[in-house]
Amino acid sequence: MLFEVTSERLDPERLVNHVRKDESGAVILFFGDVRNNSEGRRVLYLEYDAYPQMAEKVMRQLAEEVMARWPLTDVAIQHRTGRLEIGDTSLLVAVSSPHRKEAFESCHHLVDRFKEVVPIWKKEVWEGGEVWIEGEPVEHS
């Protein structure tokens, strides 16, 4: 397991190599990337704040939660802080398991839970304004 909050560019290859084991047939890697728009606003960049010590602790608790529920081989999570530009990756979640179904379900669940409880916050900056986002916005699909 690997849990990191860092101001550096995230490292997908390192996460995948970390979770990959000889008995894992499936690895899922989720990238949360900075989009160029939010509720109709053209976003210029994002700024992430975090409580790193606690965030890493909560990430570990979430990982233990999913490893108890699904037969996984490993989990790794990285989140970036500071200023992020459009297309940058803010969140990486990697999950490995013998079979693909568990990998998909548990990775999706991990990302959902991450956004509910890990103490990290983003500020959206657009032309002429900025706002700290508080709570996850409702999805419009």
Partner: protein, 85 residues
């Protein structure tokens, strides 16, 4: 007794600081410490219904009694991960 209060995101902007040392009465709860801060920074009162509390990096209830040297964090609703995904 003394506690360190850590502030993040909008709360740290309202306080103009990310960390505040508070002198507190013995056994004051996490929620009471927050209300004390609201008297100094009235705009923080807007978070009364949504703020969460952590002591020494673990979520706790508002009733949690602080001890000398505790690190209390005020956690506004979180929004990590990517942008509206």
């Amino acid at each position: 007794m003394k506690a360190t209060v850590r502030l993040f995101a909008r709360l740290s902007e309202l306080a103009g600081s990310r960390e505040i040392e508070l002198e507190l009465g013995e056994g004051l709860s996490a929620g009471e410490a927050y209300r004390l801060l609201c008297t100094r920074y009235p705009d923080m009162a807007a978070y009364a219904g949504t703020v969460m509390y952590a002591v020494n990096a673990e979520y706790v209830l508002p009733e949690y009694p602080l001890r000398d040297g505790d690190e209390l964090a005020l956690i506004p609703p979180v929004s990590g991960g990517a942008h509206a995904v």
